[in-house]
Amino acid sequence: MHHALRLRDADYAIELSRSADGYRLHLEDRVVEVRQDSGAVVATRGDEVYVHLDGETYHLRYEHPLERLAHQGHGAADDGLRAPMPGSLVSVAVKAGQAVQ
């Protein structure tokens, strides 16, 4: 399931994972160490993320995986839902593209 951050009309599918002493950012086919002392100043409100870095300010928006799934009509190949224990899906009450509250 991909998370995404939207910046200037572009969606960036990303993942965050732990590394030995911090975090790593997975962006497309690249994995980069996230420096926590990058000098960035960050503020958030809801899904809005504001980053001040090297004298520039950037406005990003966190896109929920489910919303992306619904809005796209078809998700990325590995977007999906995982049940917490083994079972069989017997009925699907929604169609692709339909918004789920």
Binding site: Y23, A43, V49, Y50
Partner: protein
């Protein structure tokens, strides 16, 4: 009432950064500072700073600040004897100045008839021409409405059509071809009617790629007038100033002396009382023409204060108190160089569209030669109710290069998160080769749309932005924390 002042409380009939700016001097002088405020500004720094405040109401927030009766009544209830109008709102409204005087209070501004004279662009222009000061070749509709179009055709091209009651660039049209003169006149007329309730027009010769140079003047009630040198305000978008500096890098010493003395002469002929600004259009050939006179404190007044060391609000209050100017022309010196950057809540890449939002984080720049005049605070909110200018960054240096270097550092340091501002744009402008060479004119930004466009983000910067944003996003961070590093290191193949 204090021993020296004929008033002990000054009401500031304004909001935002200018209310804070005026209160600072009022309180420094040992006077009490009061404000009126609309509910939208209840948590604003001006209200927090004031010794007293009164809420005013209106159909819109702006309407409250334009309500003469309510503001005069508020002053009375606060025991204020003087009212400072700031800029904008009622600052150039002669009815307000009259109402304040009729109520037995002191208007910290010019005489009502001076506001009236300079507020009518056509009358002001005629006044200036009559006293032998330079005005651009023109045709004025009021002189004879029937022959207006015919007379307009005789003014050398290109032409600029302006509303007689105008200001701030509203309703102005440039005409380069006489074939479109008539329809453009009709368009300007309807805009003038819409913005100012007045469709009267005038036409003047348009100076290509002009500079906007203005001169700060100060007059007392005893006929003394001095100038406090010029300000260059040529960086504009939609006829509105963005960056102002002094001294102007374009003027020779002789041109500087000439334009400043012309401004002082105009103010002297008008018997002008108060701080005021005489604006000129300055052509590439060194010729200059009177544009208009603003009979109030100007947004960009701090650059003048920074190079002259004179507090203009203090001077306004002293003049309003009936004092004589305490200094003569030859003691007003320009020392060093100052530049002001207007911080607007707007998106330059989208046509300078105003933006709104919460101020989640605010860290103003500091350091030597840096001044931050602001009306916003952290946890405040920028709304669409008022003008999008939320703060001003003023830098001073020994010379222009030092001021520019300090400006770049200060703009980099300024952190304002939650509401988009034009600071990135201001840095691109500051670092543009033409700005360094002072090759600026009022059409500069239109000629260089790349300055307003978002700068491309280098790949490594993008990764750092996304990394910082991902760390701050709870569901991303919680997701990462839920998987131990060892498992994460194994990657997706474990599924």
């Amino acid at each position: 009432m204090s021993a020296r002042w004929p008033f002990d409380t000054v009401l500031v009939a304004n909001r935002g950064e200018i209310a804070v700016r005026v209160l600072r001097t009022v309180q420094r002088l040992g006077l009490k500072g009061a404000v009126v405020y609309h509910a939208a500004d209840r948590g604003s720094p001006a209200v927090a700073m004031a010794d007293a405040s009164v809420e005013i109401t209106g159909a819109t927030p702006v309407a409250a600040y334009l309500d003469i009766e309510q503001i005069v009544a508020a002053a009375r209830s606060l025991g204020a004897v003087a009212i400072h109008p700031g800029y904008g709102f009622l600052s150039e409204n002669e009815d307000f100045a009259r109402a304040v005087e009729t109520a037995g209070m002191v208007f910290v501004g010019p005489k009502p008839e001076q506001i009236e004279l300079m507020g009518d662009k056509v009358r002001a222009r005629a006044f200036v021409a009559k006293h032998g000061f330079p005005v651009a070749p023109s045709a004025i509709e009021d002189d004879d409405p029937k022959t207006f179009v015919a007379r307009a055709r005789k003014v050398p091209l290109p032409l600029l059509i302006k509303p007689a009651a105008g200001g701030g660039g509203k309703g102005m049209r440039i005409v380069r071809d006489l074939a479109v003169l008539q329809p453009e006149i009709e368009r300007a007329r309807s805009e003038g009617q819409r913005y100012f309730g007045d469709g009267r027009l005038y036409v003047e010769r348009y100076i290509e790629n002009p500079r906007h140079i203005e001169v700060q003047v100060l007059g007392d009630a005893h006929g003394n007038v001095v100038h406090l040198w010029e300000r260059e305000c040529s960086v504009q978008r939609r006829f509105q100033k963005i960056v102002e500096e002094t001294p102007s890098p374009a003027l020779t010493a002789e041109q500087r002396r000439s334009i400043c003395e012309t401004a002082a002469g105009i103010a002297r002929e008008a018997g002008y009382r108060n701080a005021g600004t005489v604006e000129f259009i300055f052509g590439a050939d060194g010729s200059y023409y009177f544009l208009e006179m603003n009979t109030r404190l100007q947004v960009e007044h701090p650059v003048t204060e920074e190079v002259t060391g004179i507090d203009l609000v203090e001077q306004q209050l002293r003049v309003a108190a009936g004092e004589k100017l305490a200094f003569a022309q030859d003691s007003v010196r320009q020392q060093g160089h100052a530049i002001e950057f207007r911080i607007y809540a707007e998106d330059p890449a989208r046509g300078y569209l105003p933006t709104t939002g919460p101020v989640l984080k605010l860290s103003p720049p500091q350091g030597e030669g840096v001044r931050w005049d602001s009306g916003v605070v952290e946890r405040g909110e920028v709304t669409a109710a008022f003008d999008p200018m939320i703060a001003k960054l003023i830098v001073r240096g020994a010379d222009r290069a030092e001021a520019m270097a300090r400006a770049d550092r200060a703009l980099r340091e300024l952190v304002l998160l939650g509401c988009q501002t034009n600071t990135g744009f201001l840095r691109r402008l500051l670092n543009h080769p033409a700005f360094a060479k002072a090759g600026i004119h009022t059409g500069f930004l239109d000629a260089h749309p790349d300055i307003a466009a978002d700068a491309p983000i280098p790949r490594d910067t993008l990764e750092r932005i996304l990394g910082a944003a991902a760390l701050a996003t709870r569901s991303l961070r919680e997701g990462a924390d839920a998987v131990p590093a060892l498992h994460a290191a194994m990657g997706a193949w474990r599924n």
